[in-house]
Symmetry: C2
Subunit: 178 residues, 2 copies
Amino acid sequence: MKKQFNPSTLYLATPTVLVTVASGGRDNIITLAWVGTVNSEPPMIAIGVRPSRHSHGLLEKGGEFVVNIPGSGMVRELDLCGSKSGRDLDKFEQCGFKRIPASKVGAPLIDRCPLNIECVVRNKLSLGSHDLFIGEILAVQADEAVLDDKGRVDMAKVGPVAFSGGEYWGLGAKLPRK
Amino acid sequence: MKKQFNPSTLYLATPTVLVTVASGGRDNIITLAWVGTVNSEPPMIAIGVRPSRHSHGLLEKGGEFVVNIPGSGMVRELDLCGSKSGRDLDKFEQCGFKRIPASKVGAPLIDRCPLNIECVVRNKLSLGSHDLFIGEILAVQADEAVLDDKGRVDMAKVGPVAFSGGEYWGLGAKLPRK
């Protein structure tokens, strides 16, 4: 038996990430969950940002962003960077993060995030509450601590965070193919 | 220390879902991981589909789709619906799925998926290898077996599947906010 529910964003488990942006000597961090891979060749990530957010202006002006993937121990930082405004405070300082220069874009990497995906905006689409920025991935940086013995990124060591039903969730077990 | 990697879609953990489409009396199922929430008001989901896929044509003609969220025990069905073509076989039959009529769209719900999100296409964007279809959520259906004692969907009971690093993963533990 199926039960019907109203249309809602609650039911898809999406990645929860810390996106960094920069323009004109200012930068910021924003927590986003309206994030997904959208294209393979070239590799592209789309992020949805409300136009009222401070990061929206920096993103429009700078035209670049970094998707910093937090580990599952960073819930406090996710809440802070999602609820406070960069107009009022420096979220790097509040979270005790250090900026690492990116290799291909102007926005900084967050040192404590084990994976950092550098993107340049290729397209923008206004959808209603959010603007969708579609970024091409230019480079990926990973902490050596999350690499396996062959030097590849081990997602189990990264421990990314999902958002669903208004809650944060960790990554579970790898599901073997039969 | 950070190590640099080539641009790649490997590093974001995205939802893995079974999307159903229909047009002109034909329907199909396709496994997709280039899927994400992109807007809150109205609630919208974007899905990336290669133009060469059989489902791409049905989606363009039908203009509607259902995001069927599989449980973590459905890896075989995810592999089958991602690798076979609906031009050659009936994936419902191959998987032992039954069609349930949707409430608002022409594409069917998959009975064995505990959550079904009915969408109408509002926008389409060609990005390179994939076309991005942006759908507004019109209705959500859930199995009674995945509801909590207050009648809300319990994502831990749904047990959705993520795709990252070329592997399937389950949903982990809920991460408490401090």
